[in-house]
Symmetry: C2
Subunit: 362 residues, 2 copies
């Protein structure tokens, strides 16, 4: 049994005593369903040398983009040599924590800060690398294909290749592209392709766009502390209120971090949506329930989890860790101890993921 | 017993039959605690001829501000003659629905779109009118003072007058002022004055600022359907993460609409706030619990209400209607039927309001 290193350190000098060591060990039990529970983690990040190099190059520029702070003071070797590596220690950490499978995706902001040529090239390269890793570890990985929305025609071509040739399981997009959102008709071919290929698009966060630097660019709030939910929540609402799901009724969108607060606001969105003046066929909440699923990435609080299952239904919530940005063991412990029946636990841990991402249980 | 006009109209031609009329009447029972429950509504709007005229004048300009849509195609007579009038049918509607008291505030966007001179003038005038109305109906109204953040020196002078001379109960501010937020040091005198006067500031929504027009200015989402929560949530987070409550530890902020999704995100904000690099003395959630209270304005869904009471404590949730933008009867029915003990109902309905706004029960 391993001692929780953070609790150990937090205990300070007291941790030197045998009693404190024993207590720390007791505080970190093996997850109770470790062996017999199937777990698929659905928002798990990797980088490639090509993506890392291109982002680190941008971080050395004068572009004030809120996304680049995370890439400053980094090296390609450090980025690719750490836990963002496609392989590395990933499988060991999965094994230690009873994670059967990770659904992998190129880390944020993906390829959306590059021009269309470079973005397309890095996306294709990342998808090829992803395919190779999936082949090398049968049953342990699924993958979401990157694409460059900057060039919708080449994006849809790559989306087609990613499903038909590489057998990937869906798509990843990191919210806005140059401050634009996918309700803009120029991006409709991408939504149409996802619907036709019958695979979901995971709208992952990136920081708010350049127009919002003055608003969000303070105190680190452009990141997960607040900005990520603002950014993806805005994107999801634009898709819903813009009538995207009347146009593409079978399109499925995945959003993480317990649904970006939308479950909490859903009644009010319905209530204040002016149905008499709206072109929408249905209430906003109906699209959210039918065309979206949410994941638990980065949220280990049972209160919003329980709320979301009640509000959206157990079929609409998927487990995720957000590796390597979040701790796998803590995410397993939080879900293992969630106050649900085994039936609901199974849906959240793997059944919903198998259905949404068309994952075969080998 | 009155027929609910909206249900009546919605029923269309069927409503002409006696059976449909009887059904509509049955659907609108008197609230069960109508007579014996004290109710204080805490986010209740009014306008003045001066504010309405000035906003309608702006609505005729080329300013693309997202706030002005609501003031287009209106007349001063219409605005002041309707339910936004300080008096008018207000007391009758309160009586019919068992509302003992409204805490009144100048409607959004207040005076924050005007220059400092005009804004200050309209605020002073509105506060005088508010005072007169409160005097005319003893025990039926409390009031939040308007002020123009554009001129912090004159704002604090008016805040002082509003409490010491007019006996008002707090302050109202409509989120950003020219895209700036109150964590900006230029606004600290306002926060300092509120703390010294021991009265809360209600941060009411307005639409996102001009920099966010491209992001939020679609499908009506600049309003309550989504933009209001984004705007006030951002403002509240800036105050918390900017260390405002270390500087002004007794400052109290009120936010409506069930806390702008912050209760749902609070665990993640704590988790992703980089405490090791932060200048804050406490966790973000501790400031939210100690320095904020939330109101139920515009939210009649028991799920987020129940969640908020559990997350923040029953002392931190206040009832509000958001009159005249929301229906008083429906807001009473929603709170009367909330799944709480009478002790919790009393806190939400009036005890918390009396404490926060220093309202005397005449």
């Amino acid at each position: 049994m391993k001692v929780d290193r953070r609790k150990f350190i937090a205990a300070g000098s007291a941790a030197l005593s045998g009693a404190a060591l024993a207590q720390a060990a007791r505080a970190a039990p093996a997850p109770r369903r470790l062996r017999d529970q199937r777990r698929i983690a659905t928002e798990e990040a990797f980088t490639t040398p090509e993506q890392a190099a291109a982002l680190i190059a941008l971080a050395g520029s004068n572009w004030r983009s809120l996304d680049l702070g995370l890439w400053a003071d980094r090296t390609v070797e450090g980025a690719v040599g750490g836990h963002l590596a496609l392989e590395g220690e990933r499988v060991r950490i999965m094994d230690e924590n009873g994670v059967a499978m990770q659904v992998l995706s190129l880390t944020s902001p993906g390829v959306q800060m590059f021009n269309a040529d470079l973005g397309t090239e890095i996306a294709i390269n990342a998808n090829d690398r992803l395919f190779e890793t999936i082949q090398r570890y049968p049953g342990r990985f699924a993958g979401l294909a990157a694409f460059a929305p900057q060039d919708p025609a080449r994006a849809t071509k790559e989306m087609e290749r990613a499903i038909s040739k590489l057998g990937l399981n869906g798509f990843i997009s990191n919210s806005h592209t140059n401050g634009e959102y996918m309700d803009d008709p120029k991006y409709w071919p991408i939504l149409e392709a996802a619907e036709a290929l019958d695979r979901p698009i995971y709208i992952h966060p990136r920081s708010p766009s350049d127009a919002m630097i003055d608003a969000y660019g303070h105190y680190g709030m452009e990141l997960a502390v607040w900005g990520y939910q603002a950014e993806v929540g805005l994107h999801a609402m634009r898709l819903i209120l813009g009538g995207i799901f009347d146009r593409f009724p079978n399109l499925k969108i995945v959003i993480g971090h317990m649904g970006k607060n939308i479950p909490f606001h859903l009644w009010r969105t319905d209530n204040k949506h002016r149905s008499e003046r709206s072109p929408l066929k249905r209430k906003p909440s109906e699209y959210f329930v039918d065309n979206f699923v949410i994941t638990t990435s980065g949220v280990r609080d049972h209160m919003p989890l329980d709320y979301s299952v009640k509000k959206l239904g157990a079929d609409n919530v998927l487990w995720a860790v957000d590796f390597p940005y979040e701790d796998t063991r803590l995410a397993v412990e939080a879900m293992d101890s969630a106050p649900f029946s085994q039936e609901v636990i199974n849906k959240i841990y793997y059944e919903n993921a198998e259905r949404i991402f068309k994952i075969k249980n080998l």
